[in-house]
């Protein structure tokens, strides 16, 4: 089966395929941060740190143990989520900007530790062999994307997700309603970092060379921009934000040297004209039904969230 899939992919322009895979990885990372920041309202500026933990764990699992890729990704995710929960437990007591700076600080510490570890080849970076799997990587990435979208949508509409939204709305009120705020925050952090770790694992095997410096502050900001651009707390928003920002550097490539300049300008421009994100405030069920020529029915809209 692997060979058939591989030959199918052979028909796609490799450059286009690369962009498609980049978008997929972006979506996994953005969905993870969306659970933490969009759904629970806890600003994290250290998402790339968990991505790097995932990337190095996954790379080492392939190099040292040669585990099959699917098992590898699962272990990677669990390790990242474990670190996330461990870190999250003390720091999630902080609120707002104090939490943000703490996650940022943690990310810098992780980066420096990886830069000094013998096993991750210090500052030289690590070459990652191809994953041990019969399914080609681009398909693997998109399988993970679909799984992530399904799981996160499920979380959004579950009892657990409603508790997280309550925490986002007002922590004190949520606590008064009997929600165990500390526990839910740590759990949402663990889910977000799980996805970050899996995204990192995919990234490591896709790029096939990883360096701790790739996962700095700017990478965290990249992911945060995706979810803010798309519209906080919205799954379609995260997907579109991740797609736009993962592809943007490629489409701006013709500007070569002006690329980052335009990117920075665009971020400011977007925020001024659509401060709630591209998809913020749009109810997708309604749009879909309108397109079909049907009036949205209240029952169908029920359970769709309102944006903050």
């Amino acid at each position: 089966m692997g060979d058939t899939l591989q030959s199918l992919l052979g028909h796609i322009n490799p450059y286009l395929l690369q962009i498609i895979v980049n978008i997929g990885i972006g979506i996994v990372l953005a969905l993870g941060l969306n659970v933490i920041t969009g759904l629970t309202g806890q600003l994290s500026l250290g998402h790339a740190a968990f991505m790097s933990i995932g990337a190095f764990t996954s790379a080492l699992l392939t190099i040292k143990l040669g585990l099959p890729f699917s098992v590898n990704l699962l272990i990677t995710g669990v390790v990242s989520a474990g670190v996330g929960a461990l870190i999250g437990y003390p720091i999630l007591r902080l609120t707002g900007d104090y939490l943000a700076i703490c996650t940022l600080g943690f990310a810098e510490i992780v980066k420096v530790i990886f830069l000094n570890l013998e096993i991750t080849n210090k500052a030289f970076g690590l070459s990652v062999p191809p994953p041990k799997s019969s399914i080609p990587l681009p398909i693997m990435v998109w399988v993970v994307v679909i799984l992530a979208v399904v799981v996160v949508s499920f979380i959004h509409n579950s009892r657990f997700g409603r508790a997280l939204k309550a925490i986002r709305g007002d922590e004190i009120a949520a606590e008064a309603m009997g929600i165990n705020v500390a526990r839910y925050k740590v759990q949402s952090f663990a889910i977000g970092t799980f996805l970050a770790g899996v995204g990192g694992g995919l990234y490591a095997h896709f790029i096939s060379f990883i360096n701790p410096s790739d996962f700095g502050f700017l990478k965290s900001i990249d992911i945060l921009s995706m979810i803010v651009l798309g519209g906080l707390g919205s799954i379609p928003g995260s997907i579109i934000g991740a797609a736009v920002l993962s592809a943007a550097p490629e489409f701006l490539r013709f500007m070569a040297n002006y690329r980052m300049l335009v990117y920075g300008g665009l971020l400011v421009f977007m925020m001024i004209f659509r401060p709630n994100g591209l998809m913020g405030g749009i109810n997708f069920t309604e749009v879909f039904l309108k397109a079909l020529g049907r009036k949205p029915h209240m029952k169908e809209l029920k359970g769709k969230e309102e944006l903050p």
């Binding site: 104090y98 600080g105 510490i109 000094n116 990117y263 925020m271 401060p275």
Partner: protein, 291 residues
């Protein structure tokens, strides 16, 4: 040895403090983490370098020009990128600030190139002064002296002048201040100007201290200064000074103790630790959240 490291630390720390003041003042008034602040610091360093190297200006004059240029830059940034977003969510303003930061650093890279540039040796003649066992360079004295003067000036403006009173009122309560007839927009612009001037001075001093000015110097310095501001209790001016000095001194002692490859992690490790113990920073006020 101890005295030597202490002086090195205070010199480094006072530059952190200069940058941190801008973060803390802006935060105090509009609760925005101004991520472009590090880039203003970088811009200040470049303007200073340009003035000294190209226009053969006196060092102090160059610093003054850098401060004034960055004041304008800070006010313009606030006008374009932050003011339209004042009513929208804080995260949008944060992303906008990050956009400005990326824009400015890539602009600097385009104009000045990717490699670090140094000040000409004639910019400030460095001499060593021996005090006991310690070697203090005149450069370090200059940094400590200039920082101290600027901080005293700031303290004077904030505590003794009318506009300083308006600043304090605005940071206490934005809406009430506006109702009392304070031109809040003007105060915010003034705060940005003040913070940017301090950052520019810091930029010129750091450029001279490490003899390197580069387009990406703003990122790490900005992050560390922000850490210093939070460490001291964000929104508190003495807190930013204390936080900056503390980070500078610990960083230098950490490096001296042989952890130089962990240099950038030291500041953040202290920050995380302090926040664990005292979540509002060292001098931050505890605000009881009302329901």
């Amino acid at each position: 040895m101890l005295l030597q490291q202490l002086i090195n630390g205070i010199a480094l720390g006072s530059t952190y403090a200069l940058i941190a003041l801008g973060y803390t003042m802006v935060y105090g008034i509009i609760t925005l983490i101004n991520f472009a602040h590090g880039e203003i610091f970088m811009a200040g360093a470049f303007v200073g370098l340009l003035m000294v190297a190209k226009f053969k200006m006196n060092f102090f004059l160059a610093m003054l020009v850098a401060m004034i240029t960055c004041m304008v830059l800070g006010v313009v940034i606030e006008r374009i990128a932050y003011r339209p977003l004042r009513k929208s969510s804080r995260l949008s303003a944060l992303i906008s600030a990050i956009g400005v930061s990326i824009f400015l650093s890539s602009l600097a890279q385009m104009i000045f190139g990717a490699d670090a540039k140094g000040f000409p040796e004639t910019a400030f003649p460095v001499q060593q002064i021996h005090i006991g066992e310690a070697d203090i360079s005149t450069l370090q004295l200059l940094i400590i002296g200039v920082s101290a003067c600027l901080m005293l000036a700031l303290e004077f403006i904030v505590k003794k002048t009318k506009i300083g009173k308006a600043m304090r009122a605005t940071s206490e309560d934005y809406n009430t201040a506006a109702l009392m007839g304070i031109n809040v927009n003007m105060i915010i612009s003034f705060t940005f100007a003040l913070g940017s001037a301090l950052a520019a001075a810091g930029g010129v001093l750091v450029g001279l201290l490490f003899n390197a000015v580069s387009f990406n110097m703003g990122l790490m310095a900005g992050l560390k200064a922000f850490a210093a501001a939070v460490l001291g209790g964000i929104g508190s001016i003495p807190g930013a000074m204390l936080g900056g000095l503390l980070l500078g001194v610990t960083e230098v002692f950490g490096v001296a103790a042989g952890y130089s490859s962990y240099r950038d992690a030291i500041a953040f490790a202290i920050l995380v630790f302090v926040l664990m113990v005292k979540p509002t920073g060292l001098l931050g006020k505890k605000i009881q959240k009302k329901v």
